[in-house]
Symmetry: C2
Subunit: 193 residues, 2 copies
């Protein structure tokens, strides 16, 4: 598909608008008519830019949101080279999700797009990158002699990923953020031991 400048602008507007709606108070199930209303577009445009229909649109939005997840943790995530840096990262993660509250754009998205291959792909890629950053941080700490060599960077990273995911999920379903804090503190403390 060849897009003119105007075309690309419209396509972007659709994705941004849909993403914004997911961040709003009551996303529920997002219908194409919702997207139409928010982005001031027509059905024709929606299918013109996303021939695969709703699923293709949702996946595009999901990718967009997945990118945000990592950029929101920068620059902390890329420079986990001291205990202070780990604490700042921890605080950034907690602050981000505290602000977001029970709303989780990516979360609502994934429940709507279900278990399609495309969705799994996006999540896998996100987790892999995220874990890679953490593992890299652990590795640097180990080389600096700040973390004992018994700790596997990959396993530590996997544990952090699981902990954060779970903490956020608990936040989503119960509104409580202490689980997220507790698991981050415990895991960082474990690195320090």
């Amino acid at each position: 598909m060849v897009l003119t400048t105007k075309g690309r602008a419209t396509r972007d507007r659709i994705i941004e608008g849909a993403a914004e709606h997911l961040r709003s108070a009551e996303p529920g199930d997002m219908t194409l008519d919702d997207v139409r209303a928010i982005t001031a577009t027509s059905k024709g445009q929606l299918f013109h830019y996303f021939p695969g229909g709703k699923e293709e649109l949702l996946l595009a939005v999901a990718q967009h949101e997945a990118d945000r997840v990592l950029t929101d943790q920068q620059p902390h995530l890329a420079t986990l080279t001291s205990w202070g840096a780990w604490e700042r990262w921890r605080d950034a993660v907690v602050a981000r999700y505290r602000a977001q509250g029970a709303l989780c754009p990516l979360g609502s998205l994934m429940t709507q797009v279900g278990t399609t291959p495309g969705a799994a792909e996006i999540v896998s890629a996100l987790l892999a990158q995220w874990g890679g950053h953490i593992a890299s941080g652990v590795r640097q700490m180990r080389q600096a002699g700040l973390v004992r060599s018994g700790i596997s960077p990959e396993q530590a990273a996997a544990a952090f990923i699981a902990g954060i995911q779970g903490g956020v999920q608990v936040l989503r379903s119960t509104g409580r953020i202490d689980h997220l804090e507790a698991v981050l503190d415990a895991l960082i403390d474990h690195l320090r031991s």
Copy 2:
């Protein structure tokens, strides 16, 4: 509503059948017609036993599944009084979710029932009970002098809950179980430190 023996049997059959369908290969969105087909019932029966319609039915099934989550971890969960017991519990949790694989009845349920108050209630109650058991285990280990007193039973329990939730979620979306194992190992190891 007054139920005869036959009535109660039918009601139970509906819940069991729906639960089984959620454990099957492709739950997707469960429609009332799905439930009808599986349980050999009619629309009339569905609304007779669940006047609140689909939501009431889903919540009943969710409660049924939530109960299973805890009973599946017994007797380990109630007797976390030695390191061996903690390991056995860890293995039981991993085994259970490994067997379950990417299917998570309660998980699919919650995504379908969405963010209604009833759903939040069920999850909160489950997490509270679950966390209570773990906290109690930590407390006993502390009293036996096996865990240092710097560890808060409540925070440790919250960390475990978050870790397990996240591990299961990663398993659901990527099929990998190593995150669950890593976070459990890290948290138990942290208790031991």
